[in-house]
Amino acid sequence: MRESVIEIRGLYKSFGDNDVLQGVDLDLYKGENLVVLGKSGSGKSVLIKILVRLLTQDEGSVKILGKDTANLTLRELNKLRLKIGFAFQAAALYDSMTVRENLEFPLTRNIKGLTRKEINYKVEHLLDSVGLPNTINQMPAELSGGQKKRIGVARTLILNPEIMLYDEPTAGLDPTTCIDINNLINQVREEYKTSSIVITHDLTCAKQTGDRMAVLIEGQFQATGSFEEVFEEATDPRVKSFYDYNFIKQ
């Protein structure tokens, strides 16, 4: 039996009259890349924000690495957050800091006693890993969209997370850069042995990065399984229409 690193049970979340999540159940297994698909506004980002408690659920439970997030104190939650890397849709790099400072910021504030040499090694190694060693002294405003996303991923990796959450990693990028980002997601899993949830509505990204798909429609997962099981053998018209509208069939 596969080991779950994230267990979501009966998750509900509403904003006013808008019921975004309506009883979501989901498991993320150790070492897998799970892709959560859905239309814009379907609640995909809300789901992963609940996982790191940027939002709180109305009902239901979330267990990460065996811990129920709702019962954690702030100190315990922060300890858990260090094991989760969150790559934001627009990268969320700190505008007033250089790339080096962006990477050093979470490291120096969470791990005490590191020497300058150790910090430099980690920062430089990660920038090499994401293929951007020359951007170290640049400001975020000087980077392209794809570079920002890579640096955003590097910043989350600096704390060696066990779980990675990617929020729309290919949104707003050209097709070539999308493929680079998809490769980076796979590379991160190989190098850092992470388990990941990739939130996207880009089926190319889903096919290239996901071991398993979960399609979120009307607040619930309507289909889960491999890409072929979910889309190519889809019987649910909503899932089928999602595929037809989004994927260029060969």
Binding site: K49, R81, L82, A90, D95
Partner: protein, 261 residues
């Protein structure tokens, strides 16, 4: 009428919700300010941004206030042959009211709006969320540092404005009444008391705190994308100025009561 009732009730509801939220924000500041990490480096960087970078504007404004206020007061005093009282009049006006008030209003415009816009932009671009998920307390790093920096720097800027305004006044008095620098400043210090300086410093601390916390609050609570950032910057200035005037009135009552006791 029936249609209006829920709208009014919603507005009242929102007002009290806002008030309660603002109270919780200020309370959080006073709870968290005592506990580590203290972020001294960021506090110093903010002091530099808020203090040093405001100097050109503050210098110009203070200097012009000194010259203009002296020039405008001269005809009234001249009618009674009392132009020799100009240094005393100007010093009392500048130290007690004009210096703190003008500096605070300028800082509310320059510093308050910049804090509101910066934090607002960090909020809408998820930089604050990025800090939270990295187990960094954004309230400590952003709000406490900026609020402490404004609280410490506004009194320094007020002292500096007082000095520059008096210097401007001296130049005007020197040209018209041929009063020397030492005579001018002897008259200035004879007419102001310890209470004047003390109350000016305390008032400036409160003004500084107000500018910092309002800017941070409006930025921290901003939403609706770039439009929200603009609104946060604007609301920071309006709310800070409004509170500064209220605080000035209250301070006036308190200081007058102490003076008359």
């Amino acid at each position: 009428m029936e249609d209006k009732k829920p709208v009014i009730s919603k507005k009242i509801d929102n007002f009290f919700r806002g008030l309660s939220d603002a109270y919780a924000f200020v309370k959080r500041f006073f709870v968290e300010v005592w506990f580590p990490p203290y972020e001294f480096k960021e506090i110093l960087r903010q002091c530099y941004e808020i203090g040093y970078r405001s100097l050109p504007l503050i210098s110009l404004t203070g200097f012009i206030i000194g010259i203009v206020f002296t020039n405008q007061s001269r005809p009234s005093l001249a009618e009674f042959g009392a132009t020799s009282w100009l240094p005393a009049l100007i010093s009392i006006a500048v130290v007690r009211a004009l210096g703190p008030l003008v500096t605070a209003l300028i800082a509310a415009g320059k510093v308050g709006s910049s804090i509101g816009a910066e934090i607002g932009s960090m909020k809408v671009t998820e930089q604050i969320d990025a800090m939270e998920v990295s187990a960094i307390n954004p309230f400590k790093y952003l709000v406490i540092t900026r609020t402490l920096a404004t609280t410490f720097m506004i009194p320094v800027l007020v002292m500096y404005t007082d000095f520059v305004a008096l210097l401007g006044s001296f130049i005007n008095v020197n040209q018209n009444e041929m009063v020397s620098l030492s005579t001018f400043f002897v008259q200035v210090f004879e007419s102001i008391s310890f209470l004047d300086i003390f109350s000016s410093v305390i008032k400036s601390l409160v003004f500084g705190f107000t500018i910092g916390i309002v800017g941070c609050y409006k930025g921290y609570r901003s939403n609706q994308g770039t439009e929200g950032v603009g609104k946060a910057a604007n609301a920071s200035v309006v709310m800070s100025m409004f509170l500064i005037f209220i605080e000035e009135l209250l301070a006036l009552q308190v200081v007058n009561a102490i003076r008359n006791a």
